[in-house]
């Protein structure tokens, strides 16, 4: 099966974890989606020893936090825009606000602009309190 088939199945069943399970890197990091009790979808990055970047603090590797933000943004496009093509990242700008402590991290994105070819997505990642994000990113994806 091609990814497109999984994307269609995910869109039909409104279960975007179906897509993640077929994107090896996201699946390997254990990223998955949960229903946000407030609204929409939450992306979850479960804490594991292997995502540690600084063993002294310890803290999650900033690159993994960035990868998580990018993944969450990508899934936001699927969920909000109903696109059938895997969005291709053009660029990402990540602000690191706090160190990622050794615990699960959550993220939620919002499509701030949708053009014919490009979508802009903002995404925040947090741990205990979504009003105190550990990182925030804005991203551009090709969706055409």
């Amino acid at each position: 099966m091609q990814l497109l088939d999984h994307i269609r199945a995910a869109q039909d069943n409104n279960d975007y974890n179906e897509i993640i399970r077929h994107i090896p890197y996201m699946d390997w990091l254990g990223i998955h989606l949960e229903k946000d009790p407030k609204d929409g979808l939450l992306a979850v990055l479960p804490f594991t020893e292997r995502i540690i970047g600084n063993p002294l603090l310890p803290a999650i590797h900033g690159g993994v936090t960035g990868a998580f933000l990018e993944s969450a943004a990508q899934m936001t496009i699927f969920a909000e825009l109903g696109t059938e093509k895997l969005p291709k990242i053009v660029n990402i700008t990540i602000d690191y606000l706090r160190s990622g402590r050794p615990q699960d991290t959550y993220a939620q994105g919002v499509v701030t602009r949708q053009g014919r070819r490009v979508a802009n997505v903002r995404v925040d990642a947090w741990q205990d309190d979504r009003n105190h994000p550990i990182a925030s990113a804005h991203t551009h994806f090709l969706i055409g």
């Binding site: 090896p24 390997w28 990868a67 660029n91 990540i94």
Partner: protein
Amino acid sequence: MNLSLDAAEQMVTQAIPHARELGIEFVSLDGKRMTIKVEQQPHFIGNPDTKVVHGGLITTLLDSVSGIAVYVKTERFEPLATLDLRIDYLKPSAPDLPIYAEAECYKATSNVAFVRGQAHQGDRNDPIAHSVGSFMLSTKGHSMRQEAERELNNAAP
């Protein structure tokens, strides 16, 4: 304290658990330019149809090599924190070829270091991604610094 080649290599390959997990290898330290690489692995893939690696992997490589480039520039083992990182994805990665990430810290003040980097697959003139990042220096107190130094001294052969 000078950052020896051995210590730089040790930092890349041993000190960072996630870097170990990815199998990041030290390639070279050429002046202030630090280069690392990874061999591709099936779980790096971001698009199962084309086998292009996920952008997040590139982010991790560039974040890692940029941080080390700061140590190379400042020659101080002090904890640092990424302030921001911007990555432009210039073209999709080719399957199977290793991915190189290189970075150079072109300015460090007493508080902030500025780094540019790029990722490529063997041809430095044909990058797959470009990055700019800034780092806050000496982010933790004295005891933390001593601990980091001790750790790195022990790690370095």
